[in-house]
């Protein structure tokens, strides 16, 4: 098994004349927390969308876990082991928190229409397993007490956690978090940090988009900086933090 989990090779994406991604190449190693930062509009979310199959890249591609990723097949990305959360939370609002996580088990379970109708022993066992796993995950992220509530009625922080639980339910090898700390207060952010540490300790590789510099520098093993769709630098946080190009990209003046 290769040490690399994900290789992005010259991924490009443009919308009309706007070049959202300019041949971005980067590599993510197994077991690391990899930060992706950059000013607003730098192309971070576009990169996520290409990776998870929601956008088809205009050039380049990804190799994930030893095999190329098919473009334009989000459900296959999930099947291969890439799960994600969304910057502007996308839960199934009118489903209960528990149901949200149970949906996450979809890709790792099999029951079809006939199983559903006949409710044979196998289907019931699978359904029980789905429910148990979903309950465990709710507990894991800390929203077990809201299991029966509609997702949209959860507090903001709980919604972010629920989205992570749903993503974890797909048993990802790579978990992509798009600004998970956005809008959180200090206590919530700290709890989130602990949660991410825990997920990493369970062996899941994490790709993190985040604006909270403290969180990124504290959590990440390596950090990549995007600016105007191009990769500026990819290195350990200590180096990235002091790179003049990064400072310029953020502040706007040469340092």
């Amino acid at each position: 098994m290769s040490e690399l989990l994900l290789e992005a090779d010259a991924v490009a994406k443009h919308f009309g004349g706007v070049k959202a991604l300019r041949d971005v190449s980067l590599t993510i190693r197994r077991g690391e927390v990899y930060g992706l930062i950059g000013p607003n509009g730098a192309g971070k979310t576009t990169f996520f969308n290409c990776l998870t199959g929601l956008y088809v890249p205009d050039g380049g591609g990804f190799v994930f876990d030893g095999a190329p990723l098919k473009a334009d097949a989000p459900h296959q990305a999930a099947e291969r082991g890439i799960a994600r959360t969304f910057q502007n939370i996308r839960l199934f609002g009118n489903m209960s928190a528990l149901d949200n996580v149970m949906v996450g088990r979809h890709v790792r379970t099999r029951a079809g229409v006939f199983g559903a109708i006949l409710r044979d022993r196998g289907t019931r066992a699978e359904e029980d397993a789905i429910r148990r796993r979903a309950e465990e995950l709710l507990h894991y992220v800390g929203v077990a007490d809201r299991a029966g509530d509609l997702a949209k009625n959860l507090s903001y922080g709980d919604q972010r956690r629920l989205e992570i639980a749903r993503a974890l339910a797909t048993e990802p090898k790579l978990l992509c978090l798009d600004e998970p700390a956005a809008g959180m207060n200090g206590t919530e952010t700290e709890a989130l940090r602990v949660l991410i540490e825990g997920i990493r300790a369970d062996g899941v590789t994490i790709l993190l988009i985040e604006h909270d510099v403290k969180l990124v520098m504290g959590l990440c093993d390596r950090v990549a900086v995007l600016d105007y769709g191009a990769l500026l630098i990819e290195d350990v946080p200590a180096v990235v933090q002091h790179d003049p190009r990064v400072i310029e990209a953020y502040i706007g003046v040469p340092a």
Binding site: T45, L54, Y55, F86
Partner: protein, 307 residues
């Protein structure tokens, strides 16, 4: 070649009518995302009101051109009032209801209007009084009438007028803004209620004009005529890209042409297996094919998924 030219002419006339009706659908859809199923019935009522009033006026001894003018104006005004009331009574209270609720209301209103028309005008076909002396022209083996010429001309004028209204007036700007983003338009001081009501009123006026055209073209009318016409016009609106004015016009004309050519040639194409009574399926087959390759219609904006 004369069949071809003939069918082009027929298709153009029919297409002009579809286009006018399609505009009524597309305006309402563009602004509030509602398929106003009752629009076809508005067109039907436009035809029947015109028939009744013109016939009455002619019988009362008023000169035909004047009778036509008054009758058509009456029909247009009545339809505008109807469109306004529909929006005010049936749809406005449902603006924040679940998505399918106003659709069912629209279907209900369509049933109501159709049966109301039947109670007033009966089940029989009505004769549309001839408004002008029909003359026939012949060009390159294809014939057409002055009625057809007038229909296409009036339709073109009406569409031009609509474009002017939407792109050159304050009301038009408000309409475009509301279609883009009702909340922001509201913040900018656009009165959404007024804009939506105007879309209904203008669409209904165009519908009444189209209704008079249908009546004078086919010379008969019936309380059920609005249904298929509305369906075709809506198809045309979707074909062009619903919510898009130019798309509705192009879609209407295109649909008219496709139907006419299809009806003219289907027998030859299928070796006589399928006859011209399959005319009605062309609209739908073309629609399905177009949407397979252009999911937002021919002129519709591409609305990509946003993550």
């Amino acid at each position: 070649m004369d069949t071809f030219l003939q069918q082009i002419i027929n298709g153009l006339v029919q297409g002009a009518i579809y286009a006018l009706v399609a505009l009524g659908y597309t305006m309402v859809y563009g602004i509030m995302g509602l398929i106003n199923f009752a629009h076809g019935e508005v067109v039907m009522l436009g035809t029947l009101i015109a028939i009744t009033s013109i016939t009455f006026l002619i019988k009362a001894g008023i000169a035909v051109p004047l009778a036509a003018l008054i009758g058509i104006s009456l029909s247009v005004l009545a339809c505008m009032a109807l469109g306004w009331s529909l929006e005010r009574i049936a749809y406005r209270p449902l603006r924040h209801a679940p998505r399918l609720t106003p659709l069912i209301t629209a279907i209900g209103m369509s049933i109501v209007l159709q049966n109301l028309a039947m109670m007033i005008w009966g089940r029989n076909y009505m004769i549309f009084p001839p408004l002008i002396e029909k003359t026939q022209f012949e060009v390159a083996g294809a014939s057409f009438t002055n009625v057809q010429v007038i229909i296409v001309t009036v339709a073109a004028l009406a569409m031009g007028g609509l474009l002017w209204l939407v792109y050159r007036t304050r009301l038009g700007m408000a309409m475009r803004a509301t279609a883009q983003n009702p909340a922001v338009a509201g913040l900018m001081g656009v009165n959404a209620n007024r804009v939506i009501a105007s879309a209904f009123v203008i669409g209904s006026a165009l519908g009444a004009v189209a209704g008079v055209m249908v009546g004078s073209y086919y010379e008969i009318a019936h309380y059920q005529m609005g249904f298929m016409l509305g369906l075709k016009a809506f198809t045309a609106a979707v074909l062009g890209g619903i919510g898009n004015l130019a798309g509705a016009m192009a879609g209407g004309v295109l649909l008219g042409l496709i139907e006419a050519l299809g009806a003219g040639y289907i027998g030859d194409l299928t070796g006589g297996f399928l006859g011209s009574h399959y005319q009605d399926i062309f609209a739908f087959i073309v629609l399905i094919f177009v949407l397979m390759f252009r999911p937002s219609g021919l002129f519709g904006e591409k609305t990509g998924d946003r993550a």
